[in-house]
């Protein structure tokens, strides 16, 4: 059992096995070197990227993120961040698929509001339906609502990714019981996506039974991103092992750890 998380307990997404249950974003870092170092320290095998206009001729020597985080080493997960309607999210996914030579895995997020960055779940459901029919493997960002999560799974999304708290907020898991309900209902992997602030939040997500955690700001906005990436890797592993181990029941009063029998006084 000692190496259960490393060897015999893979995370399976779209038929591919991953040893790491930590997925990381690549935004908000100081520069591309810090991005690469933090991601290496995190042990993540799946990294998200955004899709944006090419910066024509202004920085010709600047390396592209995919030159540093190459698709042969990492599973690239293009996201639809910044999309506020189903149409643009679908367009973004199609562009990403072309960009990555037919790679079908996408992270769908359709945002509803700039202040909260909460998902527009109605538009998310619509976009998911079109994308699944179009052959995409959809990992979907959603609210911590078990009913919406169930619908997204019924549509054919391959991973359900409820938020822990608003994107970039670092508030931790605000609604752990809903996350647990989503996990219990789901037959596909459930990842907490967004809202984690520090290592204990990641461990809690895993202890709730989540299959993994996707995070960006918690690492990138730490004072020492590379160190936080390493902390997150350990927290994910610890949380997973604790979940598999099955925690003791919490009790209100004490229970002595040493035997009563044989007391000599």
């Amino acid at each position: 059992m000692s190496n259960v998380t490393q060897n015999s307990d893979p995370l399976i997404i779209a038929g591919k096995e991953y040893r790491s249950r930590l997925l990381v974003g690549t935004g908000k870092y100081k520069d591309i070197d810090e991005t690469a170092s933090a991601i290496a320290a995190s042990g993540a095998e799946i990294v998200t990227v955004a899709v944006r206009r090419t910066n024509m001729g202004q920085n010709p020597g600047e390396p592209n993120i995919l030159d540093v985080l190459t698709p042969d080493r990492y599973t690239i997960l293009p996201n639809t961040a910044g999309c506020y309607d189903a149409e643009t999210a679908i367009r973004t996914c199609r562009l990403a698929r072309e960009l990555l030579d037919g790679h079908n895995l996408v992270k769908l997020e359709v945002l509803g509001d700039e202040k909260t960055l909460f998902p527009d779940v109605i538009a998310t459901l619509k976009a998911a339906e079109v994308l699944v029919k179009d052959g995409f493997d959809v990992m979907v960002y959603t609210n911590d609502d078990p009913i919406v999560a169930r619908e997204l799974e019924a549509i054919g999304c391959i991973v359900i990714m409820p938020l822990a708290a608003p994107i970039g907020s670092g508030l931790g898991i605000r609604n752990p019981l809903n996350i647990r309900t989503i996990v219990e209902n789901a037959k596909v992997p459930v990842l907490v996506d967004a809202g984690v602030g520090t290592a204990s939040d990641a461990a809690v997500a895993m202890e709730l039974g989540c299959d993994g955690v996707l995070m960006n700001t918690a690492i990138a906005a730490a004072k020492h991103p590379v160190l936080m990436a390493s902390a997150m890797r350990k927290a994910i592993e610890a949380g997973r092992e604790a979940f598999l181990a099955g925690r003791m029941p919490a009790k209100r009063f004490a229970s002595a750890s040493s035997p009563i029998e044989g007391l000599f006084f």
Binding site: Y29, V49, A50, M56, I65, R94, L95, E98, L99
Partner: protein, 66 residues
């Protein structure tokens, strides 16, 4: 003729092919994808797809993001 390339107006020769535009922009060897008037143009069609006046061309790439 005029097209709108990544949000900016640009003058190009009438009947320019997507492949010619890509070459003129020195994008060879980079990973990018092209959309014209909100429709994806697969790489395999760059050499046959001619641009029309007022086409809205988007050339996109991957960037860091969550």
């Amino acid at each position: 003729m005029k097209i709108v390339l990544n949000g900016s107006s640009r003058e190009i020769a009438d009947g320019t092919l997507v492949s010619e535009l890509v070459e003129a922009l020195a994008l060879g060897g980079q990973r990018f994808a092209v959309e014209i008037n909100a429709e994806l143009i697969p790489r395999s069609r760059f050499a046959e797809h001619r641009l029309n006046p007022d086409d809205k061309v988007e050339i996109i790439q991957a960037v860091g993001g969550g």
